[in-house]
Point group: C2
């Protein structure tokens, strides 16, 4: 489903949000706190940086900070920065306008018979990811509705 890239990356973001003070947080301290390999996290955090989700300061006492307030960062941004485009199966993609396409349609063939299903699944995933912000993640706040 989602790989550990998404999992680890979300945890990086959550960690940054939780320690969102003045000073940047060194990736080494995150790796230690979360018990994850530093060298691997470096790859992930670079994706987050290139996506404009975190900012970095190099050198001594450097580290990372959120590029925007946690309330304004959605999980859809985080996950797609890490995993690339979100599609439940290969042939389903979304073009820049947000129209969901089946790859087979493109070359004049008829759509997958199951397009309806995968587009709905994709919609559900994307909507959910867009609906959860980083700040919600770090506040186990009075959400507690219908705890499935």
């Amino acid at each position: 489903m989602f790989s550990t890239k998404a999992e680890y990356g979300v945890r990086i973001m959550a960690h940054l949000a939780a320690h969102d003070g003045t000073a940047p947080v060194a990736l080494g301290s995150i790796a230690e706190a979360e018990a994850l390999p530093l060298a691997y996290l470096e790859h992930l955090v670079q994706r987050l940086r290139r996506a404009g989700l975190v900012e970095s300061r190099r050198g001594a006492h450097g580290g990372y900070t959120l590029a925007r307030p946690a309330e304004e960062i959605t999980m859809a941004e985080v996950v797609s920065a890490l995993e690339g485009e979100i599609a439940p199966i290969e042939c389903i993609t979304a073009d820049p306008d947000g129209r969901v396409m089946c790859a087979r349609e493109a070359n004049g063939e008829r759509a997958c018979p199951s397009k309806l299903l995968w587009t709905r699944v994709q919609g559900a995933i994307v909507r959910t990811l867009e609906d959860v912000t980083l700040s919600e993640l770090i506040r186990p706040v009075a959400r507690k509705k219908a705890a499935v």
Copy 2:
């Protein structure tokens, strides 16, 4: 996300539903119609059979039929028969009661900081899959064909 197992399997089911007459449909004819490798489909259809979703008749003029009416078969059943348990990331599972668990919780550790997110994503996926029946898939019925 989902592998081709789910994609192909759903197409098998859709094909069976579309040709749901008296006679069983040979897998070879499905493979040909869908342009998929027969030998691989055999693996998939066995999973569907063991899950009680299709029935088989061996020998000449044998083949497969739906085990239940298409309206009563949900995509959740089909996909989980093919892919196994549906979880957006490894540490999220659902116990027999349907309670969503984080693997880390089990061993006395605290839950992933991001559990909230993944449980919601899982919920959205499962609810969507449960909501789409096989019969809906094969009838592009009364759905606005215009805007896609």
